[in-house]
Symmetry: C2
Subunit: 123 residues, 2 copies
């Protein structure tokens, strides 16, 4: 590490930061899980997705989907069959997040699973 080290441009000093920007997309509690489920289960309806995510409320799921749709990560397709169906799927942009979500998942797998937060130090 010398003094004149050039940073890879993705850490500028002028406001924008690719890390923060990406984190604001994937850093919400449910966002990465939703994306992961969509990656591995193809298009899903609202209720199916809710069951898939396990723990999320309809309200939060709805909000998250709105957010992700606005950010062009998921697409909402109304399938006009008799019972009005809706299908949520990843856009290309959303699918491109696969490495990111995978990185999150694998790191958690490898470094976080043997969690002993309460058994660790205090008391």
């Amino acid at each position: 590490m010398s003094d004149t080290e050039q940073l890879p441009a993705w850490c500028p000093g002028d406001g924008w930061c690719s890390i923060t920007a990406t984190a604001s997309l994937v850093g919400k509690k449910w966002h990465p899980v939703i994306i992961h489920r969509l990656l591995h289960h193809g298009p899903l309806g609202f209720n199916a997705l809710q069951e898939e995510v396990d723990g999320i409320s309809s309200k939060v799921l709805s909000e998250s989907l709105d957010d992700l749709e606005e950010k062009r990560v998921v697409s909402r397709t109304i399938v006009s069959e008799k019972p009005v169906r809706v299908e949520y799927a990843l856009t290309e942009l959303g699918e491109s997040l696969e490495p990111v979500v995978t990185a999150l998942a694998e790191w958690g797998e490898q470094h976080l699973e043997p969690v002993d937060e309460e058994a660790a130090s205090v008391v």
Copy 2:
């Protein structure tokens, strides 16, 4: 995608989720940036780190470092020279986050930079 598809175990239905767990570490606004700076600039003092991160306040930096220290991601070393110095560095666990932070950074680089949020749709 068949029906009996086995998920890689890192997306259980029973509460714990490696993705969410990791996101709770790296998903905060400043956490990944701090880690990134520490990855690329070696150990830094408080003020040096604050200047490096650019935009963070001393309070938030302090809080973030407390959090990251508690989670064994960064270490705080008091270098007891005459002017009391402190050095923040990554632990092994912290360094292992490199792929995750890199994934965030690179995705942002490749998919988010040409941002035209305001120029896009409305008005």
